[in-house]
Amino acid sequence: MARGSGNRSRLLLIILLVTSLFFITLDLRGVSLTKGSRSVAQTTLAPVQRTVSDIFAPVGRFFNDIKNFGSIKNQLTAAEKANDQLKSDLIQAEDTKGQLAQLKGVLDLAGRGKYQVVAARVIARGSAASFSQTITIDQGSAGGIKTDMSVISANGLVGLVKNVTSSTAIVQLISDPSFKVGVRIAKSQSIGVLQGEGTNTFSLQLLDPAGTINVGDSLLTNGSDNNHPFVPGVPVGQVTWVDHTTSTLTQSGDVKSYANLNNLGIVSVILSAPTAAPAKALVPTPQPTVTIYVTAQPTPVATGIPVPGAAVTPSASPTPSPTPSKKK
């Protein structure tokens, strides 16, 4: 009896393993059935993710806040004093303000780069069931988003659109180990390749044997043909460490991203960009000295907050101004 049961188990195992391998083969051969099933799952999950994100976003940030508690202790003390004056404000209003700040930052960057962008809200982060680093945004093909479009935050490049459904898109973050982007150093114009490593730092490898990297160098995207997948001139990060060993032909180093990938609330997908690179103008600086005119803005809702998703063509006027001022 036991032997018979064991044989049945082994037969069942073989059947199921062969079925699994069949699915894997179909997927690797690019059969649309398997790709489509994930797309259907994403479309089905999108409304749930959006609702849950609205309700539980503060809970989701709970662990992150604990993690960063030590580093922001001083800021917290100051914030507590300020908080006394804001007791009457609702938590929802604060959340909305945060989203507005991120949206404004993204539009500022898009305006300086003369990018046509569509703003989107992050509704989920990559599942712990996989090793990829992704976020899900609440805008899809209905908002003009296609695969291989650059995604930016207020401070710089965030990633690349990997999958799109009608109402959502999955963005592969620059920290993903399989992410690679061509970059150039703003100061020396040397070009290189930046690769994600699954952490907050990335590796940079110069392509030019004569080129040099210095700590503090700012990196911008080098751009691709027809601006896809990467538009030129988007700030990527800053060099934090340089490998001075002579074991490789070209120099390499570590880079820290300008964008805070752990705290993404609002991002923008670049729909189109000017062919000329905006060069160093987009590198984040503590106090920008340009006047920004945003000629179009997302449709306001009842709360007065621009709705992520409305396509925006912010026009930038990098005219030097005696006093920093912003005007919408």
């Binding site: 188990s9 940030r61 712990a128 180990p177």
Partner: protein, 173 residues
């Protein structure tokens, strides 16, 4: 395993998948992440005997393969969790009755989650996937094991009760 129970398992895994992808993925766990789906799936596999464990593993893997954020091919998780189901069912008797010892059960689930993740990395590497550096992967597996160890005892009693509700009178015996 009856067709009815297979259907119930499929529906349950779909529900769990929705919770994992929409709610759990929003939580920024310190020291990497936690997969509630994987922990519950391994626990359910551990509850089952013989063919039921293998079929439960296959169903759980197939649903997990639907994850839009997964970087592996469709079928990879089905293959891995089927294997885990087989390994569990062929070694269960040597570990004694897990349900009578909750601590052993939790350790068993934690071990199962770690094994599943390590197998996923190894299989992914064979298929040419980029899963990051070895140290980072080790860190993620370790962190997942840590959270599974902490969180599994919380949902285990409810999961055990829920499973008993789906058993037929014949299976209860």
């Amino acid at each position: 395993m009856s067709a009815l129970r297979a259907g119930i398992s499929l529906a349950f895994f779909f529900l769990l998948f929705g919770i994992q992808e929409s709610a759990i993925s929003l939580i920024h766990f310190p020291v990497a992440g936690f997969s509630l789906y994987l922990a519950v799936a391994i626990a359910l596999i551990a509850f089952e005997d013989g063919n039921a464990a293998i079929i439960t593993g296959f169903i759980a893997g197939l649903v997990l393969d639907l994850s839009p954020t997964s970087n592996g091919p469709f079928g990879q998780w089905a293959l891995i969790l089927t294997l885990v189901g087989y390994i569990f069912t062929s070694n269960r008797e040597s570990i004694a009755d897990l349900t009578s010892s909750p601590l052993t059960f939790v350790l068993f689930v934690t071990f199962g989650v770690s094994i599943a993740l390590v197998t996923y990395i190894l299989f992914g590497t064979l298929l040419g996937e980029h899963n990051g550096s070895l140290s980072r992967d080790f860190y993620i597996v370790l962190a997942n094991a840590f959270w599974t160890l902490i969180i599994t005892p919380i949902f285990l009693p409810a999961l055990s009760r829920l499973r008993k509700l789906t058993l037929t009178s014949k299976e209860r015996m």
